[in-house]
Symmetry: C2
Subunit: 364 residues, 2 copies
DNA sequence: TTGAAAGCGCTAACAG
DNA sequence: CTGTTAGCGCTTTCAA
């Protein structure tokens, strides 16, 4: 019997060495280690560390001291397994290198951190297929839910519906799946664009063009509505040739601008659905030798950092990006608490920041 | 006895309902669920799914079919607990909204994904204290190691040393802790800056200023060496007043530029340690009414996307950012395999991309 | 060929 | 006040 015991011990030691070599990392100290060192049971240690009143104050103090000396931290995997929660939020964005998304992610992260959650970022590269993969992978990773901004290709929502069916919290920001009953954070694009049109009018513009995004996206729709209504408010007729659609790439925006500049009766103002589009338009307008804003006034949307660096500086609509991320995270945690029925929609205000690209000194 | 059994069953059901309500998510199917459905043991299911030869082909086929029908996916928490590996890589960056870091992260993610790992991003906000917190939090999360770019404040490395002491893989990119024996990916700043100085000379510049970063950072040191050596190569004397240091913020860069432009004998060329600095310098130079490049030629470093959008377009050094991320991840996995002794240093080549901000048409 | 049992780290119900 | 036990989901001996 003693021999058997020794063999078991040896095996354990052997196994430990092997594991440690394999994982190339010293093992974290566990409750068991502490219990062995202190000569008490694992549960006593557990209770002491959780400040359970049943344990004597002295013992509690002693256990906590040793635990902190040994740098004990609870193993999140064990906790996760036990509590059936991973403390992970999946975040799906079209890409991570665009300032807008990076900034929203910062906001999400800030709130998540507070709550002891961390985020797993997955980018869809603006592709529906990759977005579906991302959802699957995140589910496999056992995230507790997902915060997403859909790709520009996304026109069917089965993969997101799957989340809802499984009662996993789902929150959209900026680009949402319309018709799905889930929480979302967006900005009031409609109103923002109306004020842009008014601003153009104030600066003497009469032929106002709009470079829009894919029609199935809510952001395209909202801003288009704002465009049409803004024109009406100003007493301008809608000219179909002044509304061009592009996917959200810089290349396509260049083509769209090209198309506008080649019109027999070219526009004297262009509004791009976001700053990336506006930057491309700016390059192309300059290439044609037109002056901004004298020949063509230009306005973007989202107010990227570089709006102030380009020449002329770009008038744009501020998106409260960091706040948007924070709100999205807030909705996420609400959803986690309140369950599937919860579907609050937050609409954030925007602000038109007027810079050189749209102000004609002769007018104002 | 039967009664007892029923009570136990009821308790289980009760507990399940409670949990499911609490977690607000349907439970994932487990091996146990499959085993119950198939009327075999858990271990048989496990073996079948792992294609263990001991299980009969028919049974294996049947089990695999049911498993995929039920959308079974192994619980990574359970696996992690068992194998003592989390498949998570911690990534620490000064911030996530700068294009450079976002792009490197994309590279890291691409390789990680391939290997079935996912990354947990933590930003230090260029603060040493937050960086230390990040390291601690990531260790607590049981990441298998860390890939980091140190904050600009970081001048002591105890928190990173802790990782090394615990034999956790650690890889630096771009900004490294010099003296630590760990793998790293950097660019050859020395050589790159030498070629910038040569380029300035070719364009008739004689008083070449350099806005540098914090002195303790390797990138500052390398580029400064390149600057000094470049001057020597070109037969220029080093003028101490033309070398100003700034922290890497836009505000400080503005001050530094201000300082240079107020010199009695002002520079006719400025090199900024990165594009953010160069953009600020550009704004300030314009504000003074100087022409770029005629009065002052300007060159940046890192080649951000917006280098082509500013006016004049900015000459800069391309950083292979995505590749840098991929290399960092590659080194990470090597380190994971080969253990603590491994400390390969990768130095990536750069390229000087010449644009309008530094080319004087009269000269070339 | 398959099942039972132990154990990864942790908590909580139960029993002293 | 403290220890024993069971179980979260999984793999892996050992036993049959």
């Amino acid at each position: 019997m003693k021999l058997l015991f020794e063999i078991v011990c040896m095996m354990k030691i052997y196994k430990f060495v092997e594991l440690s070599t394999l994982a190339m990392a010293k093992r974290h100290v566990s409750l068991k280690d502490l219990a062995a060192e202190l000569g008490v049971s694992v549960s006593t240690v557990s209770r002491a560390l959780n400040k359970h009143p049943d344990i004597s104050p002295q013992l509690t103090e002693k256990i906590q001291r040793i635990a902190s000396e040994r740098n004990y931290t609870p193993n999140p995997l064990a906790m996760g397994l036990l509590k059936a929660q991973t403390k992970m939020i999946g975040v799906i964005v079209p890409d991570i290198v665009t300032h807008f998304f990076a900034s929203v992610i910062s906001g999400i992260e800030a709130v998540a951190k507070e709550k002891g959650y961390f985020i797993v970022i997955s980018s869809s590269s603006e592709s529906l297929e990759k977005e579906k993969e991302s959802v699957d992978n995140l589910i496999k990773s056992r995230v507790e839910g997902i915060i997403a901004c859909i790709s520009q290709e996304t026109n069917e929502y089965s993969h997101f519906q799957k989340l809802v069916d499984n009662e996993l919290p789902l929150v959209f920001f900026d680009r949402v799946c319309e018709g799905m009953q889930v929480p979302s954070v967006t900005v009031d694009g409609h109103k923002a664009v109306q004020s842009i049109i008014q601003h153009f009018k104030d600066n003497g513009c009469r032929r106002i063009a709009y470079i829009s995004g894919p029609n199935h996206l809510n952001i395209s729709k909202n801003r288009k509505e704002g465009y049409l209504e803004g024109l009406k408010d100003c007493g301008f007729d809608f000219q179909p040739e002044l509304l061009v659609e592009c996917n959200l790439s810089a290349e396509d925006a260049t083509l769209a601008t090209h198309q506008l500049l080649n019109l027999k009766n070219k526009p004297d103002a262009i509004f791009g659905i976001n700053d990336t589009i506006a930057f491309s338009a700016m390059k192309e307008i300059k290439r044609y030798g037109y002056k901004i804003p004298e020949d063509i006034a230009l306005v973007g949307f989202t107010d990227e950092f570089h709006a102030t660096v380009v020449e002329p500086s770009l008038t744009s609509v501020t998106h409260p990006t960091f706040l948007m991320g924070k709100e999205a995270a807030r909705l996420f945690f609400h959803s986690l608490e309140k369950g599937p029925a919860y579907s609050e929609k937050v609409i954030l205000p925007t602000d038109l920041i007027i810079r050189s690209s749209s102000v004609r000194s002769g007018i104002i």
